[in-house]
């Protein structure tokens, strides 16, 4: 699977070269122009999001493409809104879920990559099932569970839900990376006086670095963007993560669009940049479980 990413990218390059080599220049120009238009279509809602956040109260609903007057007040007053506290809650949930996934998925993936233990297949199928069923398909069960456990309005509930439902991706990516690292490297480290755990920590984990980073960023983004479970479990306004608070800004009593959009920009743009860093490995992780 990990070799898949490398070889796939290499063949991508060599094939691309042989493919369009004899295309006339004007065709390349037209193709390139068309592709830029397509690219624009995919980013324009986010451009509009940024532009709207700079509009002033008076020009908010003016039918112009660009704001006629620009204002940064949606950002400078952001700290005074409930959105600011929600940003902190979202960060805690996203970091918490990422930490749980790291602590839980790493040993499991390592073990699954190194040993053909009894129940290994059952474990991998269980992981695959968690990837396919989403919180939405058992929402009422989740609600009743945390209601019984006193987890409504609690950050730990969302940390666990996000960790549990996103662990599969980390397991696939990490199993592939660990599997591609020769056992002999660890054994050599152990000969040199490292403990078993020390060898994994100092040798295997750093070698699996790109996989680990991909898994962590992916989990972070998924937990950061999660909406439905948060909406279901957290009803008290001061405890809601960012997406839920942003959603509640679209109230019936007139929407505070500028703050809504400044919050959306803060919630969206960094995540797009983070995602771009791991883009090459995400498809592999999402489809890995199913194309064994």
């Amino acid at each position: 699977m990990s070799e898949y990413t490398v070889t796939a990218r290499r063949t991508a390059k060599s094939r691309a070269r042989s493919y369009g080599g004899r295309r006339p220049a004007w065709k390349t120009v037209i193709l390139s122009a068309v592709m830029y238009v397509i690219a624009f279509v995919f980013v324009f809602p986010y451009i509009e999001m940024v532009l709207t956040s700079f509009r002033t109260d008076k020009t908010l609903l003016a039918p112009t493409v660009l704001p006629t007057a620009w204002s940064f007040s949606a950002y400078t007053t952001f700290f005074q809104t409930t959105l600011f506290g929600s940003l902190g809650i979202s960060l805690i949930i996203a970091f918490g879920a990422t930490a749980v996934v790291f602590l839980v998925a790493t040993p499991a993936a390592y073990y699954a990559a190194r040993y053909k233990f009894k129940g290994r297949i059952a474990f991998l199928i269980l992981v695959l099932v968690t990837q396919m069923v989403q919180p939405a398909s058992m929402l009422i069960g989740i609600y009743v569970q945390y209601k019984t456990l006193g987890g409504l309005n609690a950050v730990w509930a969302l940390i666990l839900v996000n960790a549990g439902f996103n662990m599969a991706f980390a397991v696939w990516i990490l199993t592939a990376y660990f599997g591609s690292i020769p056992k002999e490297l660890e054994e050599a480290a152990q000969v040199q006086g490292c403990s078993r755990i020390g060898a994994i920590w100092r040798v295997t984990l750093p070698l699996a670095g790109p996989g680990v980073i991909t898994a962590l960023i992916f989990t972070f983004i998924a937990a950061w963007n999660e909406f439905l479970t948060a909406l279901t479990l957290i009803s008290s306004p001061g405890k809601q993560p960012l997406p839920v608070t942003i959603n509640s800004f679209m109230g019936a009593y007139g929407t505070d669009w500028q703050h809504l959009f400044s919050a959306s920009v803060i919630a969206t743009i960094p995540v797009i940049v983070l995602f771009a860093l791991i883009e090459g490995k995400v498809v592999g992780g999402l489809t890995a479980g199913s194309i064994k």
């Binding site: 990218r9 986010y46 609903l61 499991a108 269980l126 099932v129 997406p243």
Partner: protein
């Protein structure tokens, strides 16, 4: 144990709510959330007798089929284009990521904003193109006949990046000498695509389609951001309606949750079958 914590996490976060959901579906629960004893199958029978039940099922079917089919057809084309070599390929591929990485809720909200009566950007563009007669009167999210197509378009928009990337990964795995052989045999460009590329893309297409079906079936934020199922649940899918029902009748909502879950499990088993997942093979 190395695998222990992972199994515990799955048991607590995934298996526990499944059991709870089934238990709740067979209980009578008052609007205030008080459990009043066993209900047998009454939650399910009452659910099927609700006037909107049929409508919600039809909406869900249309929602899933239209979005997945349109997404797959468009992403086959897009992947083909992005696989060509042209200046700016890296940059344009990067732009394609945006709707995938961004929260679906935020994307839904921006589209709602761009369809705002009086000032929405998409309405203004539609007006310039002669499609919208009056920006200040158009209200596309006001009735199901226009809001459903818009929400379906947004769902396709956010589903395209993953599908396109999945098919691109499949495309780049096809060795180029196969094409050269086909070209030597005198196969036309279209013939080559139809009889060489598509069959070789089959695994990528199957996996992308099924992952899309799962995602689209369970999708909630787009509809919640844009119409909340309004007016009168006419734009609700089962997932949205389940959330709406939760506020008034937890038992019936759990019953609908069970129905949803069973559909997802059937899809999942189908998924494993079709993609040829064989336990011993990895």
């Amino acid at each position: 144990m190395w695998v222990g914590p992972a199994v515990l996490l799955i048991a607590f976060v995934v298996l526990w709510p499944i059991v709870t959901m089934f238990k709740t579906a067979f209980q009578k629960i008052s609007p205030y959330g008080v459990t009043e004893g066993p209900a047998g199958w009454s939650n399910f029978t009452q659910l099927t007798h609700l006037p909107v039940f049929g409508l919600v099922l039809v909406n869900t079917l249309v929602w899933v089929v239209v979005i997945v089919v349109v997404t797959m057809v468009l992403s086959l084309g897009l992947a083909q284009l992005f696989n060509l070599r042209f200046p700016g390929r890296k940059f344009t591929r990067w732009a394609l990521i945006a709707p995938w990485a961004a929260s679906v809720l935020m994307t839904g909200i921006v589209f709602k904003w761009m369809l705002t009566t009086g000032s929405g950007l998409l309405l203004m563009v539609g007006h310039w193109l002669g499609l919208v007669s009056s920006v200040s009167h158009a209200n596309p999210l006001g009735q199901a006949a226009t809001s459903m197509p818009w929400m379906i378009a947004v769902a396709v928009f956010v589903s395209l990046p993953f599908s396109t990337y999945a098919i691109l990964a499949g495309l780049t795995g096809i060795p180029s000498d196969i094409y050269e052989a086909a070209a030597v045999d005198g196969a036309s460009r279209w013939k080559r695509y139809w009889s060489v590329t598509l069959p070789l893309l089959r695994p990528a297409i199957v996996v992308a389609t099924l992952i899309n079906i799962m995602n689209v079936f369970n999708s909630f934020p787009i509809i919640w951001a844009m119409t909340q199922g309004a007016p009168n649940n006419s734009t609700a899918t089962t997932t949205v309606y389940m959330y709406i029902l939760k506020q008034t009748n937890l038992g019936q909502s759990a019953a609908l949750s069970v129905v949803n879950f069973v559909i997802v499990i059937i899809l999942a088993v189908f998924f494993l079958r079709v993609s040829g997942w064989k336990a011993g093979q990895d």
